[in-house]
C-alpha cells in the first residue's frame, strides 16, 4: 500500500482512537456524548494539523486551511445576514417578513428600500454577460466608496490630525517655576518631577516634528532638514522596537492559549 493511502487511513484510525478515549461511556445520552467527544477531538486534531506546518507544508495543513476558508466565509455571511438584514432592515420593511423570521415589526421606514435596491444592483454582476447590465453594480460601488471616503475624511481629520496637533501643542514646554529644588526633585520616570515632565514634553514635541519631517518627501533630506529627519528615524526606531516587544507578547499569548487547550481540554494532562 502506498503512502498516499496509508497516511489518511492511519490518521483516521488515530482520530477514532482519540474519539474513544474522549467518549464518556457512562453518559445517559450517548449521541450527545459522541458529539461532545467528536468536537473536542476535532479541535485538537485541527490544532495539530496547523502546527504541522512548522515542519513543512503538508496535506494535513492544507486540509485545515481549506476547511477554514469555507467555514469562515459562510460564518461571516450568516452572521451578517441575520444581524443586518433580518434584525436591522426587515423589521422596517414588511410585517409579513418580520413575522416569518421571528422579528418584531417596528414600523415602515421607506428609506430601508434604498440599500436593498443598491444591494440588488450589486448582484447584477452575477447575471450572465449577455444581459449586459453588470455595469449597474458600479452604482452601488460608487455609493459605498463615496460614503466611506466622506466618513473617513472627516473623522480622520478630527481625531488623527487636529486632535493630535492640539494634544502635542498643548504640552507645557516650561515648568511652573516653584524653585530649583522642586525642579530637580524627583527623577522617577513614572511619576517624575518638573524636570522629567519638561524633558518628556520636549521629547514628544521634537519627536513629532522630526517624525513628520522624516515622512516629508517633497524636499531632499540634506543639510539641517536631513539632520532633523535623521532624528525622526531614530525616534521611529525606538517605537518599532517597542512594537516588536508588544508583538512578541501577543503572539506568545496565542501560543499559550492553544497549548493550554491541547494539554487541558484535549489531552487532559493538566487540570
Amino acid at each position: 500500500m502506498n503512502r498516499k493511502v496509508m497516511i489518511p487511513i492511519a490518521s483516521i484510525i488515530v482520530f477514532i482512537g482519540f474519539l474513544l478515549l474522549k467518549f464518556d461511556f457512562e453518559a445517559v445520552d450517548s449521541s450527545q456524548a459522541l458529539w461532545d467527544a467528536f468536537i473536542v477531538t476535532a479541535g485538537g486534531f485541527l490544532t495539530l494539523m496547523i502546527f504541522s506546518f512548522l515542519y513543512r507544508d503538508n496535506p494535513f495543513y492544507k486540509f485545515a486551511e481549506h476547511l477554514y476558508v469555507g467555514v469562515s466565509a459562510a460564518y461571516w455571511m450568516c452572521v451578517g445576514f441575520w444581524s443586518n438584514i433580518v434584525q436591522q432592515a426587515i423589521p422596517h420593511l414588511s410585517p409579513w417578513l418580520s413575522e416569518a423570521l421571528d422579528q418584531p415589526f417596528l414600523g415602515y421606514k421607506w428609506d430601508y428600500w434604498i440599500p436593498i435596491a443598491f444591494g440588488l444592483l450589486l448582484l447584477t454582476r452575477l447575471l450572465p454577460d449577455s444581459l449586459k447590465i453588470g455595469w449597474l453594480s458600479k452604482w452601488t460601488l460608487a455609493f459605498i466608496v463615496a460614503s466611506t471616503a466622506g466618513l473617513l475624511m472627516t473623522a480622520n481629520l478630527k481625531a488623527n490630525f487636529i486632535s493630535q496637533i492640539s494634544s502635542t501643542m498643548s504640552l507645557p514646554l516650561l515648568p511652573d517655576w516653584t524653585g530649583f529644588g522642586d525642579f530637580v526633585s524627583n527623577f522617577d520616570l513614572s511619576y517624575g518631577g518638573q524636570f522629567i515632565k519638561m524633558l518628556s514634553n520636549w521629547v514628544i514635541v521634537v519627536g513629532v516634528i522630526s517624525g513628520l519631517v522624516y515622512f516629508f518627501f517633497s524636499k531632499e533630506h540634506t543639510g539641517w532638514f536631513g539632520r532633523v529627519s535623521r532624528l525622526g528615524i531614530w525616534v521611529l526606531m525606538v517605537t518599532f522596537g517597542a512594537s516588536f516587544g508588544y508583538t512578541v507578547m501577543g503572539r506568545v499569548s496565542l501560543l499559550v492559549g492553544r497549548l493550554t487547550f491541547l494539554f487541558r481540554d484535549w489531552a487532559g494532562i493538566i487540570s
Binding site: 469562515s72 455609493f143 525606538v238
Partner: protein, 210 residues
Amino acid sequence: MKRQIPLALVFIFGWLMLALYFIPLEGAQKVNENMLDWTSIIGIFALALGIWSLITVNLDRIKHKKRDWQYSFITLFGLFGMIIFGLKFGGENSMFQGQESYMFRHFFNDILIPIYSTMFSLLAFFIASAAYRAFRARSALASILLIGAIIVMIRFFPFVAEYTRPVADWILNVPNLAAKRAIWMGVGLGIVATGLKVILGIERAYMGRD
C-alpha cells in the same frame, strides 16, 4: 454613461457626506445616519457576492483539476455545511435555528476557533526564528531598535522589571507616543488627500478596467 453615472454618484454622495458632517441641524444628522445605516446593509450583499465568487473559483478548480483541486471539496463542504446550519426553519425544535443553532455554534467553536487561533500562534515560532537570524546590532539604527525591543520585553522579568519598568513605560509614553503621533498625522492627511481624489474623480481605481 457607464462611467459617468458612478462618478457623478461618488461626487454627489461624497460631498453630501462631508457637508452633512458640518451642518449642525438635527435633520442633517439624521440623513447622515441613514446613509451610514445603508452602507452596513449593502455590505451583506457584497458578502454574498464574495461567497458566490468563492463557489465559482472552487468549482472551476475541481472541473479543470487544477493543482490541489481535491481540497476544493473541503472548502465547499465547510461553506455549505455552515450555511445550511445557519438557516432557520422547521420551528422551535428544529436543529436549524439560524446563528443560534447548536451545530452553527459548534462549527464556529470547534472548527473555526482552533484553526484560526493556531494559525496566528504560528507567528510566535517565526518571530523567534526571525529574532535569532535578523535582530543584530549591525548599525546605530539597528542598535536603537534592539535596545527599544529589549527594554519593552524585559518588563516581564521579576526583580529586573522593578528597575526597568519606568524606562519601558517612559519609552511607550514618550518617544513611542511621539512617533505614533507623527505616523497618525501622516495617515490622517493621506486619507484626506485620497478621499478628495476619490470624490473629485481623480482616483478611479475602484471602478475597475471596463
